[in-house]
């Protein structure tokens, strides 16, 4: 039963998380509210692990969430669910059109969704910030990383790892 639910929920995410990547995070928070498969704090762990391991972030998150909920099979089923909408839609699109160009109406629809997407990801960010910035010390580290970002531009993994090292060194 849990496998059916996992498949269904991640199928929905695959269908609605337009743009992928960070867009999966708001949906994972929704799941943590709805099913108690994992806590909101674990979602933050998932983001960290997905960002710092190879592979598309959305897929990493599905595997991690599925594994956390129902072991190896859970990971496989959640990932399959996430991938299925893409597989179906792209195959249909390829069949229907020889040379596909974004349909202007469809393009308009997706563009008009973007402000809402920003709002969803912002909300997820606020939730993660509330969980991790619960006292002065983490807040100072947070501010330091943000300032550091402005002056030293590199991949996300580096900032996350740096914060991890600081957390370890200061016994956060």
């Amino acid at each position: 039963m849990i496998f059916v639910k996992l498949f269904y929920e991640f199928f929905l995410i695959g269908l609605f998380a337009i743009g992928g990547g960070a867009m999966t995070i708001p949906f994972l928070f929704d799941l943590s509210d709805k099913y108690h498969w994992f806590t909101a704090q674990e979602v933050t762990n998932m983001v960290a692990i997905s960002e710092s391991t190879p592979g598309p972030i959305g897929i990493n998150m599905a595997t991690y969430a599925g594994y956390n909920t129902a072991g190896i099979l859970g990971g496989i089923i959640a990932t399959t669910g996430l991938v299925m909408p893409s597989l179906i839609i792209i195959i249909l699109v390829s069949r229907a059109l020889k040379t596909f160009e974004c349909n202007p109406n469809f393009n308009f629809l997706l563009k008009s969704l973007q402000p809402a997407v920003v709002a969803l990801v912002l909300n997820a960010t606020i939730q993660i910030a509330q969980l991790s910035l619960n006292s002065l010390l983490p807040f100072l580290i947070f501010a330091f990383i943000l300032i550091f970002m402005r002056f030293y531009k590199t991949g996300s993994v580096f900032y996350i790892m740096l914060a991890g090292v600081i957390g370890y060194a200061l016994k956060l």
């Binding site: 390829s94 090292v165 956060l172």
Partner: protein
């Protein structure tokens, strides 16, 4: 059969060496798909990316499905997608199974707390960049700001689910599209 194996190897490599997904996988795919195997031209590859962006789902998966389907129809699409996903499946399962054992150590806990602060900072940057891009490309700035504000209020205070918000905005936009058409 040989093409299927090549497809599998190519997309397995792409899954293994891409950090982050989306456009991060473009350079690897260009080397493999365009230069080495000549499965598609560079224009076609870029086209796959733009289609991947304007269809739902994870962009990386969309591109893999597209390339696979072009070469070997449905079998190709499934093989390419499976290959792309497999490295994540293996690596994340390993990390997740090890992590739960490590989480009882004090040092790991401190590190994880630090890492979560880092994630918050990285997400702030992602939202900022995303917002800036959306604003720059917007043709209806006032309306888009309204959609943003209403969506934010809905999720922050009313705790409305993300699926519902996206569906509602989609419906609203379909309405706008019909209205514009009728006016013309």
């Amino acid at each position: 059969m040989k093409i299927l194996i090549n497809l599998f190897v190519t997309f397995f490599k792409t899954g293994l060496f891409t950090f982050g997904g989306g456009y991060a996988m473009l350079p690897i795919l260009k080397d493999e798909v365009v230069t080495k195997h000549k499965w598609a031209t560079e224009d076609e590859l870029l086209n796959y990316f733009s289609i991947g962006q304007c269809t739902p789902g994870i962009i990386a998966v969309n591109v893999a499905t597209f390339c696979g389907y072009k070469l070997k129809k449905i079998t190709g699409a499934i093989v390419a997608t499976l290959a792309l996903v497999l490295p994540s499946l293996i690596i994340i399962t390993l990390v997740a199974s090890v992590l739960s054992h490590f989480l009882q150590y004090e040092a790991v806990l401190h590190t994880m707390r630090g890492i979560r602060v880092g994630v918050a900072a990285v997400l702030i940057k992602i939202v900022y960049d995303l917002g800036k891009r959306v604003l720059a490309q917007s043709h209806f700035i006032k309306l888009d700001c309204c959609v943003f504000s209403v969506a934010l209020l809905a999720v922050v205070f009313l705790k409305i689910s993300s699926v519902f918000v996206i569906s509602a905005v989609m419906l609203f936009s379909v309405g706008r599209l019909c209205f514009e058409r009728r006016r013309r």
